[in-house]
């Protein structure tokens, strides 16, 4: 009966148990996530195509893709693209968020990206070597922009990066 060990932690701990050096990635075991950015933006005169700056993070930040969430006030016909300037729909395209719902930042999680640096999570082929500004964009598919006074809400958890 085979027993499988995780790539990031389990197999490294196993290696140590067998007297070989194994190094667990610093963000994968016994370490607290940080609040990377917990914020809300209120709209005034918004138009389709406008963006919300969700935070400027190191390209090597580990953004927890499952716990990080977005939400919004009641709004009709608004859809969100989530990503950055180069990959504006990397996390979600034309996403509809009902009032009272919280939605994971990354709409369809790829299993190999659970512990990926932000640049890889977004789809860059290499680390761009500069901070990355995450953006929520009022998607072209929106039938109306958010009304004045309504808010977009988000919380990013994870590790700030190396």
């Amino acid at each position: 009966m085979a027993k499988l060990y995780g790539n990031l932690v389990g197999s490294q701990v196993q290696a140590l148990a067998q007297g070989r050096i194994g190094i667990v990635p610093p963000h994968c075991k016994d370490t607290p996530d940080q609040v990377l950015w917990r914020d809300y933006a209120v709209f005034q005169g918004a138009a389709v195509g406008d963006t919300i700056s969700m935070g400027v993070l190191k390209s090597t930040a580990l953004v927890d893709p499952l716990n990080s969430v977005i939400a919004n006030d009641a709004m009709t016909g608004v859809r969100w693209d989530l990503g950055d300037v180069s990959f504006p729909t990397a996390f979600a395209a034309a996403l509809n968020v009902e009032w009272g719902q919280t939605v994971p930042l990354v709409a369809a999680m790829k299993a190999n990206l659970v512990a990926a640096p932000l640049w890889q999570l977004l789809g860059y082929l290499a680390d761009p070597g500069r901070p990355i500004e995450l953006l929520a964009r009022i998607a072209a598919a929106s039938t109306a922009p958010p009304a004045n006074g309504t808010a977009f809400i988000w919380a990013l958890y994870g590790r700030a990066g190396l």
């Binding site: 609040v35 950015w37 914020d39 933006a41 406008d50 963006t51 700056s53 935070g55 919380a155």
Partner: protein, 163 residues
């Protein structure tokens, strides 16, 4: 094309970039670390409508994470509902959420709360006090709707900062 900046962090950083004096972004909102404020459970035994579950006692200024703080429960019986709040504002966090179905998990803070209250308010404000009460606040879950079955488990996790 407008770019909107968040109230807690984005606008403060922009004002720093524009030359405002240092000071501003709270570690509650950026690069801080939440703690497990409470992670606990109870099992029902001879409980009736109106019984309370003490979820934890916090400073009135505590910050509770609105997304990760959650409440889970076994099936409590037909018609049982739960309210969450404190003694003075018993339905402030959650009103009459149905608890008849097993293995549900709900975020503890009503997700349709206005953004400023949900994301950027101390506990006292979120509960609806007009001013900080000046005493610790005990969060309570109230059993309502019907008498619960025996042996059902209620568990909760509250993350945030007891500032």
């Amino acid at each position: 094309m407008t770019k909107f900046l968040g109230q807690n962090t984005g606008q403060v950083i922009q004002s720093l970039q524009a030359g405002a004096p240092i000071g501003g972004v709270s570690s509650l909102y950026k690069d801080g670390t939440d703690r497990v404020l409470v992670r606990d459970q109870v099992v029902t035994a001879g409980n009736v409508i109106g019984d309370l579950v003490s979820l934890g006692t916090f400073r009135p200024t505590a910050y509770l994470d609105p997304f990760l703080s959650s409440f889970s429960y076994d099936a409590l019986g037909t018609g049982v509902t739960l309210n969450i709040g404190d003694a003075a504002h018993p339905v402030a966090m959650r009103v009459a959420f149905p608890a008849a179905t097993a293995d549900q998990t709900l975020i503890m803070i009503v997700p349709t709360m206005p953004a400023a209250l949900m994301v950027a308010a101390p506990l006292w404000q979120r509960l609806g006090y007009a001013a900080p009460p000046g005493a610790p606040i005990e969060l309570l879950a109230f059993i309502a709707g019907a008498n619960p079955v025996n042996g059902a488990r209620l568990s909760w996790q509250i993350f945030g900062r007891n500032v």
